[in-house]
């Protein structure tokens, strides 16, 4: 059985193809880059529309299958930007209707987690999900993913991009900042905001931006990232202790950060826990994760009627029942 998944929640238009054994046959994406940085939802949506057919064809070619071989079409229903979500949804509905195959509307965050579990074989991890818009520490409890702690203001990835813009870096700033992190030598005192199991990044960003030009840039970047990641690591460790687990699964675009990986690894080592991180192409937004979650839902009898498949910008991950 084959599932074709469509990701279009934000910058990325991605198509993935997965079979029912969890083999990823294709994972192709096109990523919108705004010349000014940031994202205007309608511009990204136009980009997705323009690239949709091309990405689908590339994915089918990569998998070596015909569109008629696909058994289920899946799309990311949310959370995400309305105009972007609608493109993925419309493409999926169209394919489903033309080929008379079932449709699955899945949660983007759950998809990040499920592809991570599939590829790393983590059994019962605390999940650290960090991307542009999302920063959450999650655990599976009683068939639902529960949020143990999360950002109270902005996502960690957005904070890095926005700080990067203030430094004059191009989008995405994350990879550049991550390299600069390792060049920083002196730690500069910056706000560190952990409220129980929740985090806040806006104060840290503001304080750091005020120091731009006044202190060596590499030191500032080092200190900013260090505080942000240390906050995240601290809450992750608290979740491990509280739920008595010994595995951490890191997913989402910011999971690519070597600085963050290193810090979580150090924390895990100190308490005999294990860190799992999927390959970069499956950390950032991708179609394969949507295909795989669509397949999981399909196997467990969950599909959706086209008429009821409207997108949900604020789709919470707790809403999805984890039947597998």
């Amino acid at each position: 059985m084959l599932s074709l998944g469509i990701e279009s929640t934000a910058h990325t238009f991605g198509i993935g193809i997965a079979n029912d054994k969890g083999k990823i046959l294709a994972n192709v994406k096109a990523t919108f880059r705004s010349p000014r940085g940031g994202i205007k939802p309608q511009e990204a949506a136009d980009f997705h529309l323009k690239n949709a057919i091309d990405v689908i064809e590339k994915a089918l070619a990569e998998a070596g299958v015909d569109v008629k071989d696909i058994d289920i079409f899946s799309f990311a229903r949310g959370p995400g930007l309305g105009p972007c979500l609608k493109i993925g949804a419309t493409v999926a509905r169209t394919l489903s209707l033309i080929h008379n195959k079932p449709l699955a509307a899945v949660n983007h965050c759950v998809a990040h987690i499920e592809i991570g579990r599939l590829l790393t074989k983590a059994k019962d991890p605390i999940i650290v999900y960090v991307s542009g818009g999302n920063t959450q520490i999650i655990a599976l409890e009683e068939k639902r993913y529960r949020v143990f702690g999360e950002t109270l203001d902005i996502g960690l990835g957005n904070m890095l991009d926005s700080f990067g813009r203030a430094l004059g870096l191009a989008f995405p700033a994350g990879p550049i900042l991550d390299k600069m992190y390792f060049q920083g030598k002196n730690y500069i005192d910056l706000p560190y905001t952990v409220k129980g199991t929740d985090l806040a990044f806006a104060g840290l960003q503001t304080a750091a931006e005020k120091l731009i030009g006044k202190v060596p840039t590499a030191d500032l970047v080092y200190s900013l990232l260090h505080n942000a990641f240390a906050m995240l690591t601290e809450v992750t460790e608290r979740a491990l202790a509280y739920t008595e687990r010994d595995e951490v699964l890191l997913v989402g675009g910011v999971a690519c950060s070597k600085a963050l990986q290193g810090m979580l690894l150090e924390m895990c080592k100190q308490r005999d826990a294990k860190l799992f991180v999927p390959k970069n192409e499956f950390c950032t937004d991708n179609g394969a994760m949507i295909a795989w979650l669509g397949m999981l839902e399909f196997i467990h009898g969950k599909t959706i009627n086209v008429a009821k498949s409207s997108v949900k910008q604020n789709f919470r991950l707790e809403e999805t029942e984890i039947l597998w």
């Binding site: 959370p79 995400g80 818009g133 999302n134 655990a139 409890e141 009683e142 639902r144 529960r146 949020v147 143990f148 702690g149 999360e150 950002t151 109270l152 203001d153 996502g155 730690y187 005192d189 560190y192 952990v194 409220k195 129980g196 199991t197 929740d198 260090h226 505080n227 240390a230 690591t233 601290e234 460790e237 608290r238 491990l240 202790a241 509280y242 810090m263 979580l264 150090e266 924390m267 080592k269 100190q270 308490r271 910008q313 604020n314 919470r316």
Partner: protein, 202 residues
Amino acid sequence: MVKEKLLRRGAEAEIFKTKWHGTEAIKKVRISKKYRNAKLDLKLRSTRTRSEASLLHKAKLLGIRAPTLFHIDLEKSTIIMEYIKGKKAKDCIEKNNALCRKIAKSIAVLHNAGLIHGDLTMDNIIVHNNEPAFVDFGLGFYSHKIEDKATDMLNLKKSLLALKPGLEKEWRTIINSYRRSANNGKQIVKRMHAIEARARYV
């Protein structure tokens, strides 16, 4: 040398059972974390140790059950305090309305005095004779901001509802009782819902 027994290796501290001049006591040592910069590490450990000691004392002055402070050592990030016997609230909260109300009223007393716990969870409330005691003020601070009180309550809500599904009734008892007892209770609860909504991806 007093014999010490490691009770718990928490996320940020190790908790030992020890003796303090013949009395059963708890020794809390904040552990140095290799993952963070030594300067940041020292700053976090010593400020948290100091503030925890101060908050414990303040809570007692308010008549709220909390461990009595015996000794504090900032260099070693260590506090020695009273050992409070009892069960964790997470193991006895279910269908216990009286306890829910007592917890809510105690938090209201703390909040009315501007004392924010900072890590309000079902793990950090110890219950003895159906009376709650509050431990681990390690992330606590003073504030009269609606936002900070609301964050405290949201934290408690999450820790309760994450235990297992079906504890919504217990949560309603807690939050309703808190709203009545806390100054600006209505506003705090309203803000708590706003914070929940704010954290959502838009």
